[in-house]
C-alpha cells in the first residue's frame, strides 16, 4: 500500500523536505508515500502518457495550467479533491486561488501555494540614470534605451526558449499587461490586433535587448547574478539566491558568493502595464495537489489533507520565498499558516528570514501581488481552454518566429488567431 | 573391422550432382587412395564415408552394417584434415585425448593411450604445447595421433600433406607408410600428389567428374592404364600422345616412321599412341627411330635433362634423358620409343589391349 506522489520540486534539498513530510505521514497513518520527482517540463507529457497507460500516480503536485485540462481529460478525480477541499474548510483558503481551479461543484485540485511573477531590476542603475521603475512597457523601453550596452550589460533577458514553460509565463504576463487575452466567456476570442501588435513589438524590443539564443530562467538568472543584466522577469524563488543564500546559484557580481549586496541593489515590480491597459496586470502561478483517477482515493485524500493541515508549514518551508500560503489558517486559527509562514527561514546553505533581506516595501509588493494577479481565462471561466492554448506552445513558437523576423506583426497575429482557433 | 562398401553412392548439392553413382569395395586393412583432378569429388566422397555429408542416394556399409543415416560419431572412423583442424585452445595432450574424453573413457586409460600414441609419433616433448607452438610437421603428427588413439575402423585422410614443404612431405609420407604397416588399419587417403599416390597406395582410385575412371594397384595404373585419362593422369611428366594410324600389324606416325602394332587381333582400332617421356631414347637423326624432330628447349635438372622436341608436322614431345648426356638446343635428333611400353587408344579414349 504505497502512495505514489509526483512532485515537480525535484532539487535534492526540497525533495528531502518532502520525504520528511512523507515520513511524518507514514508515522501517522502507516501509509507509505513514494516521492517521485518529475521535471516540470516533462510533467504534461508524462501525466498524459501515464494516464493512457493506466499507470497514474496517486497524487500529483502540479501547476495551475494543468488543473482544468487534466480534470477534463479524466486524469484528476475532482470529486476527491473537492471533498478534501471541503473537509479542510473552503473558507480557510484564499478565494482567488480556489476559484482558478473551480469545476462543476468543486475544485479540480486542492490549491497549495502560489507566487507572482516579478520584474526584477537593478534599482541602483535605475536611480543612477534617473529611470522610473520598470512597471510599464514605456518605462521598460526607456530603460532599455539607456542601459543596453552588450556584452557588458544587457538591458533585459527575455524568454525565447519555446519549449520552456518560462516563456509561456513571461509572454502571458506581457500580453496580460496590455489587456490581451485569447479567450472570452464564449471560448476562443481572436486576439485584438492592435493590442497584440503593441505587445509583440514590446516583446521583440526586449528580446533584441537580450543576448541571442534560446533564453529561459537559467540565463536570466545567470546574467542578472553576474551583473550583466539590468532587468529580468523571474519568480520569487530567486529572492533567497539573490541574497547569496544558496551556493548552487550564487550571485557572481562580486567575488563573495554569500554577499547580499545584489539583493540590496534590486528592486521588484509585480504589476506591469501596457499602453492599451493602464491598469496593468500581475501574473500568478498557483500549485495544487491533484488526486488522480487511478489513485487509492482514500489514502490519497488522507495524504493531501495531512499535507495541507498538520504538514502544511513543512510543505511551505520547502521554499517559503516562492510558496505563499493559500490556506490561510485552520479551523482553530484563521491565520495560523500565514503567520507561521512569515517566520519560515529562506535559503538553503544559509538561512535568513525574508524580512532581513529586503525592505518592507519590496516584500509587500511581492506578497500583495497574489491578490490582484490573474491568468487568462480565470475571469472568463475559460481557464481550461486558455491552459490548452498555453500548453500547445503555439504562442511561444509564433512569437519566437516573429522575433526571428520570419513574419511581420500583423501576419503573426493572423497566424496566431488561426492556430489558436484550432484548439478546443 | 574396417571393410567399407559403397553401393551406388550419389551426392547432390541441390541440383548439382557431384558424385555420380559410385560402387567401391575397400578391404579391411587396405590402403586406398583417391586421386583425380581438382573438383572431381574426392573430398566429397571421403566426407560421405565419414558422415560429415549426407549421402543423397545409395548406401554405405561398414563391416557389413549400413551406416548411411548415422552421424559421424556413430561410424567409428577417424579423419585427418588437410588443415589438421587441431583444437587451438587445447594442449597437444588434450587434442589427442579429446575423442576419448567425449567417449567417456576413464582418465588413466586416456593418459595411457595418449602416451602410447605420442610414443609412436615421437610427440612426447610437445605434449603440453598448444598447436600454435608447433611446426607444420609436428601439427600433422598431432592430427594423426588424434586419429590413432580412438582405434578407429578406418582412417580417412584428406590431403594431409599438402600444407607441408617438400622435404617434410617426404618424411611424413614415409611415416604414414610405416604407420599403415604397423597398425594394419584400413586407410582411405585423398591426394592430388602423384608421388604420394604411387608410393603409398595398395589401390589407387582415379576419379573424374564424380565417376571412377579406374581402380587398381599403382603398377597396374602406370603400366596398363584403362583409358587415355588415366594414362595421362598417372606418371610424371605426363605421357606424350601422338595421332597414329594402323595398317595390319603395323602402326605409323604421320610423316614419320612406325613400328609393330601388338594388338592386331583386337577389333577396336587405335587412333592415338601414347608413350611416356622416360620410354623414349634419343638417336642420331639418321639412325633407326620412330620419328625425328628439333630440340626446342632443354631443361637441365642435374640428374635428368628434359628435351622438348618439336616433331616435324606433329606436336612437341617431351623426352627424358640422363643429366650427364648433353643435347644442344636447336639440334635435330631422332626418337626411338620402347616398343614394349607403348599404349594405344581408340576413338573413345579407351586403351586397346
Amino acid at each position: 500500500d504505497t502512495l505514489r506522489f509526483w512532485t515537480t520540486e525535484e532539487q535534492p534539498e526540497r525533495l528531502a523536505k518532502q520525504e520528511e513530510l512523507a515520513a511524518a505521514f507514514k508515522e501517522k497513518t502507516g501509509i507509505e508515500v513514494n516521492v517521485i520527482p518529475v521535471s516540470e517540463s516533462d510533467l504534461g507529457t508524462r501525466a498524459t502518457a501515464a494516464f493512457a497507460a493506466g499507470d497514474l500516480p496517486d497524487v500529483i503536485y502540479h501547476t495551475l495550467q494543468y488543473a482544468l485540462p487534466w480534470a477534463e481529460a479524466g486524469i484528476l478525480d475532482t470529486e476527491a479533491a473537492t471533498e478534501v477541499f471541503e473537509n479542510l474548510g473552503a473558507s480557510t483558503f484564499a478565494p482567488g486561488a480556489a476559484a482558478m481551479a473551480a469545476v462543476d461543484g468543486g475544485v479540480a485540485s486542492v490549491p497549495v501555494d502560489g507566487w507572482t511573477q516579478m520584474v526584477i531590476y537593478r534599482k541602483d542603475l535605475f536611480e543612477e540614470n534617473g529611470l522610473a521603475a520598470p512597471d510599464s512597457y514605456e518605462n521598460i523601453l526607456a530603460a532599455v534605451e539607456k542601459l543596453h550596452n552588450p556584452p557588458e550589460m544587457f538591458a533585459f533577458v527575455s524568454a525565447t526558449k519555446i519549449d520552456e514553460n518560462f516563456m509561456s509565463q513571461v509572454l502571458e504576463h506581457v500580453l496580460l499587461a496590455n489587456g490581451v487575452s485569447p479567450v472570452d466567456a464564449n471560448g476562443f476570442k481572436p486576439l485584438d490586433e492592435k493590442k497584440t501588435i503593441e505587445a509583440l513589438d514590446f516583446y521583440k524590443a526586449i528580446s533584441k535587448a537580450s543576448p541571442p539564443g534560446d533564453l529561459y530562467w537559467k540565463q536570466s538568472r545567470e546574467l542578472y547574478f553576474a551583473g550583466k543584466a539590468a532587468m529580468i522577469i523571474w519568480s520569487p524563488f530567486i529572492l533567497d539566491e539573490l541574497a547569496g543564500l544558496r551556493d548552487s546559484a550564487p550571485p557572481t557580481i562580486t567575488d563573495d558568493p554569500t554577499s547580499s549586496e545584489l539583493a540590496s541593489k534590486t528592486g521588484v515590480v509585480t504589476t506591469l502595464s501596457g499602453p492599451s491597459n493602464a491598469d496593468g496586470a500581475a501574473w500568478a502561478d498557483i500549485r495544487y495537489f491533484g488526486i488522480t483517477n487511478d489513485a487509492d482515493t482514500e489514502a490519497a485524500m488522507q495524504f493531501v489533507e495531512f499535507s495541507m493541515d498538520e504538514g502544511y508549514l513543512s510543505t511551505l518551508s520547502i521554499a517559503p520565498e516562492g510558496k505563499f500560503p493559500i490556506r490561510r489558517g485552520n479551523k482553530d486559527n484563521a491565520t495560523a499558516f500565514v503567520d507561521g509562514w512569515a517566520e519560515l527561514p529562506v535559503g538553503v546553505d544559509r538561512k535568513a528570514a525574508l524580512t532581513d533581506l529586503y525592505d518592507a516595501d519590496t516584500i509587500k509588493t511581492i506578497v500583495s501581488g497574489l491578490d490582484t494577479a490573474s491568468r487568462w481565462g480565470v475571469k472568463e471561466g475559460q481557464l481550461s481552454l486558455a491552459s490548452k492554448m498555453i500548453n500547445s506552445q503555439v504562442i511561444n513558437r509564433l512569437v519566437r518566429e516573429y522575433i526571428d523576423d520570419e513574419r511581420d506583426a500583423a501576419a503573426t497575429v493572423t497566424k496566431l488567431n488561426e492556430e489558436l482557433a484550432k484548439i478546443q | 573391422m574396417g571393410a567399407i562398401q559403397l553401393n551406388k553412392v550419389e551426392k547432390w548439392f541441390g541440383t548439382l550432382q557431384v558424385i555420380k553413382g559410385i560402387d567401391l569395395q575397400v578391404e579391411d586393412g587396405e590402403f586406398v587412395i583417391f586421386v583425380g583432378p581438382s573438383g572431381c569429388g574426392k573430398s566429397t566422397l571421403l566426407r560421405l564415408i565419414s558422415g560429415l555429408e549426407e549421402t543423397s542416394r545409395g548406401t554405405i556399409d561398414i563391416d557389413g552394417k549400413d551406416v548411411t543415416a548415422l552421424p559421424p560419431s556413430g561410424r567409428g572412423l577417424s579423419m585427418v584434415f588437410q588443415s589438421y583442424a587441431l583444437y587451438p585452445h587445447m594442449s597437444v595432450r588434450d587434442n589427442v585425448g579429446f575423442g576419448l574424453k567425449t567417449a567417456g573413457v576413464p582418465k588413466e586409460e586416456i593418459a595411457r593411450k595418449v602416451n602410447a600414441a605420442a610414443d609412436v609419433l615421437k610427440l612426447d616433448e610437445y605434449m603440453d604445447r598448444r598447436p600454435k607452438a608447433l611446426s607444420g610437421g609436428q601439427r600433422q603428427r598431432v592430427a594423426i595421433g588424434r586419429a590413432i588413439v580412438r582405434e578407429p575402423g578406418a582412417f580417412l585422410f584428406d590431403e594431409p600433406l599438402s600444407n607441408l614443404d617438400a622435404a617434410l612431405r617426404v618424411e611424413m609420407r614415409l611415416e604414414i607408410a610405416r604407420l599403415h604397416k604397423s597398425l594394419g588399419t584400413t586407410m582411405i587417403y585423398v591426394t592430388h600428389d602423384q608421388v604420394e599416390a604411387m608410393t603409398l597406395a595398395d589401390k589407387i582410385v582415379v576419379l573424374q567428374a564424380g565417376r571412377i575412371e579406374q581402380a587398381g594397384s599403382p603398377r597396374e595404373l602406370y603400366e596398363r592404364p584403362d583409358n587415355l585419362f588415366v594414362a595421362q593422369f598417372i606418371g610424371s611428366p605426363k605421357m606424350n600422345v601422338l595421332p597414329c594410324s594402323i595398317e595390319g600389324d603395323r602402326f605409323s606416325l604421320q610423316g614419320h616412321g612406325g613400328g609393330r602394332y601388338p594388338h592386331a587381333g583386337v577389333a577396336r582400332k587405335p587412333v592415338r599412341l601414347g608413350v611416356r617421356p622416360e620410354h623414349i631414347s634419343v638417336t642420331g637423326p639418321d639412325e633407326g627411330h620412330h620419328c625425328t624432330g628439333t630440340v626446342e628447349v632443354t631443361e637441365y635438372l642435374g640428374s635428368d635433362t628434359f628435351l622438348y622436341v618439336a616433331l616435324d608436322g606433329l606436336e612437341t614431345v617431351l623426352v627424358r634423358i640422363s643429366g650427364s648426356e648433353t643435347v644442344e638446343e636447336g639440334s635435330r635428333i631422332g626418337l626411338k620409343f620402347d616398343e614394349t611400353r607403348m599404349h594405344f587408344f581408340d576413338a573413345d579414349d579407351q586403351a586397346i589391349r
Partner: protein, 434 residues
C-alpha cells in the same frame, strides 16, 4: 571396371531432405526461436501497432479504453456495532466521447455489513452484489449508496470494504480496436508546412551528418594507418566520442557551446574572433548576403550536424582503418615500383579499395542517423530548426498527445528508410556486402 561405372545418370536429384539434415533443421529452428520471439514481441509488434495506429484518429489518452471507473467507500463513520453506514460506489465514465453499454457493477459486500437498503437496479445474492446500470452517456457520473449497519467484525477489520474490488463491466466502442480507418493523420501531417521543413531538416541532418562522420573517419584512418609510437593511445582517444554515453557528451557540448558561460564562446569573444557570443544550439539561422543575395546559414542545425559527425566518426574510422589494414601492402609496393606518388596511391588505390566499406558505412550510418532521436532531443529538443522526423514522432505522439499523427510520421520514417536502403543496396558499389 570403367564400363561398370559408366552407367546412365540416375533419375535426377532426390526429393525432400534426408534424416541428417532434418535433425539439423529442427536444431536450428530451436536455437533461433528465442531470438525471434523476443524480436517479434519487442520490435515487430510495436511496429505493426504503429502502422495500425497511423490510420486511426487516436489520441494518447485513447490508449485507455473507455471504461466505467469505480470508487468504493464507506460513509457515515460508524463507531459501534449497529451503527448505520453507507457503502458508496462512485461511478464515472472515463470517456468524454463514447457511451458505454450494458454496464454492470459486481462486488462482494464486506463481512459484518448488513445491507438494509438497496439502490435501484441492484440485487444482492448472499454477499454478492450485482447492479445493472445500463447504458451510460459520455462523461456520465453517479453514486450508488448501499445502506446498512455494521457489526464488530466489520469494525475490527482495517478498511474491510477493500477486501474485494468492485468490478464494472460494459461495452464501448474503442477507436483502437474497431475497424474504422482514416487517412486523416497522413493528410494532416502532409498538409502542414512544418512537416516538409522537418523532412528537409531530416535529410540535411542525415546526409551531412553521415557524410561528415565518413570524411572525418577517413581522414583519421589515414592518420593512424602507419605505425608510430603512441598510435594505440591515439586510437583509443579517437574512439572516446563514440564510446561515451550520449547523455554525457551531449550535455558537455551544450555546456561548451553555451553562449554566456561556455568556454568556446568566451574564447572566441576574448580572442576577438567574434564580437557577440554565438548561440550555437539556439539560433536558427545566421543571415548574411553575398552580392546582395541574402543567405541563411542554419546555425543550430549545423552545430547538431557537427555533433553527429564528431560523435560517430570513430565508428567509420574503425571500419575504414580495419579495411585499410586488410589491404595487401604488396599492392602499395607494386605501386611504388610503378612510380605512383603518395597522392596517386591514395587516389587510385586506397580510395577505390575503400569504396565498398565506405558505401556500407554510408548505408548504415544513414539509417542510424535518420533514426537518431537522443542526440537532437538532448541538444536542442528539436528547436531552432533542428526538428527531425524522429523528434517529430515524439512531439506529435507524446508532447502533443496525438498518437495517430505520431504514428503516421513514424510510418513515413520507416517507408523512407526502406526505400532508401533498397535503392542504395541496388545501386551502390558491390565489392563487399553486409
Amino acid at each position: 571396371m570403367s564400363a561398370q561405372t559408366r552407367q546412365p545418370v540416375s533419375e535426377g536429384p532426390p526429393k525432400g531432405i534426408g534424416p541428417m539434415q532434418r535433425r539439423e533443421m529442427w536444431l536450428a529452428y530451436l536455437m533461433l526461436a528465442p531470438t525471434f520471439i523476443i524480436i517479434l514481441v519487442i520490435v515487430a509488434g510495436p511496429l505493426l501497432a504503429n502502422f495500425w495506429i497511423s490510420v486511426k484518429p487516436v489520441q494518447l489518452g485513447d490508449l485507455r479504453p473507455p471504461a466505467v471507473l469505480v470508487n468504493e467507500r464507506l460513509r457515515g463513520d460508524p463507531e459501534a456495532a449497529g451503527d448505520s453506514a453507507t457503502l458508496e460506489y462512485r461511478l464515472r465514465n472515463s470517456s468524454r466521447d463514447e457511451e458505454i453499454r450494458d454496464v454492470v457493477l459486481k462486488d462482494e459486500v464486506p463481512a459484518g455489513f448488513t445491507v438494509t437498503g438497496l439502490p435501484q437496479g441492484c440485487e444482492l445474492t448472499g454477499s454478492a452484489l450485482s447492479c445493472t446500470i445500463g447504458t451510460v452517456e459520455p462523461g456520465w457520473r453517479d453514486r450508488l449508496g448501499l445502506e446498512g449497519t455494521v457489526s464488530d467484525v466489520f469494525l475490527a477489520a482495517n478498511r474491510p470494504e477493500r477486501a474485494s474490488e468492485p468490478v464494472v463491466t460494459g461495452d464501448a466502442n474503442n477507436v483502437l480496436t474497431n475497424f474504422e480507418f482514416t487517412f486523416e493523420n497522413f493528410s494532416r501531417i502532409f498538409s502542414a508546412d512544418e512537416f516538409w521543413s522537418v523532412l528537409r531538416v531530416t535529410f540535411y541532418y542525415t546526409i551531412f551528418g553521415t557524410g561528415g562522420a565518413l570524411v572525418l573517419g577517413l581522414f583519421a584512418a589515414q592518420l593512424l594507418h602507419t605505425a608510430f609510437p603512441g598510435r594505440g593511445f591515439l586510437r583509443g582517444l579517437f574512439l572516446f566520442p563514440y564510446v561515451s554515453p550520449v547523455i554525457a557528451v551531449a550535455f558537455t557540448w551544450v555546456v561548451l557551446f553555451d553562449p554566456f558561460s561556455g568556454t568556446l564562446n568566451a574564447l572566441l569573444t576574448k580572442m576577438g574572433v567574434v564580437s557577440d557570443p554565438i548561440n550555437f544550439f539556439g539560433q536558427r539561422a545566421i543571415e548574411f548576403s553575398v552580392f546582395g543575395i541574402p543567405f541563411e546559414f542554419p546555425l543550430a542545425l549545423t552545430t547538431v550536424i557537427a555533433f553527429e559527425a564528431w560523435r560517430y566518426f570513430p565508428l567509420s574510422f574503425l571500419f575504414i582503418l580495419a579495411r585499410m589494414q586488410s589491404i595487401n601492402t604488396d599492392m602499395y609496393e607494386a605501386a611504388e615500383m610503378d612510380g605512383a606518388t603518395p597522392l596517386q596511391q591514395f587516389w587510385y588505390l586506397s580510395l577505390p579499395q575503400l569504396m565498398g566499406i565506405l558505401s556500407v558505412l554510408f548505408l548504415l550510418r544513414f539509417i542510424w542517423t535518420f533514426n537518431k532521436f537522443d542526440d537532437i532531443f538532448l541538444l536542442t529538443g528539436g528547436n531552432a530548426g533542428t526538428r527531425t522526423l524522429t523528434v517529430d514522432v515524439y512531439e506529435q505522439g507524446f508532447a502533443l498527445s496525438n498518437l495517430g499523427a505520431g504514428a503516421a510520421v513514424a510510418v513515413v520514417v520507416f517507408v523512407v528508410l526502406v526505400t532508401f536502403a533498397t535503392l542504395f543496396i541496388r545501386f551502390s558499389p558491390k565489392e563487399e556486402g553486409l
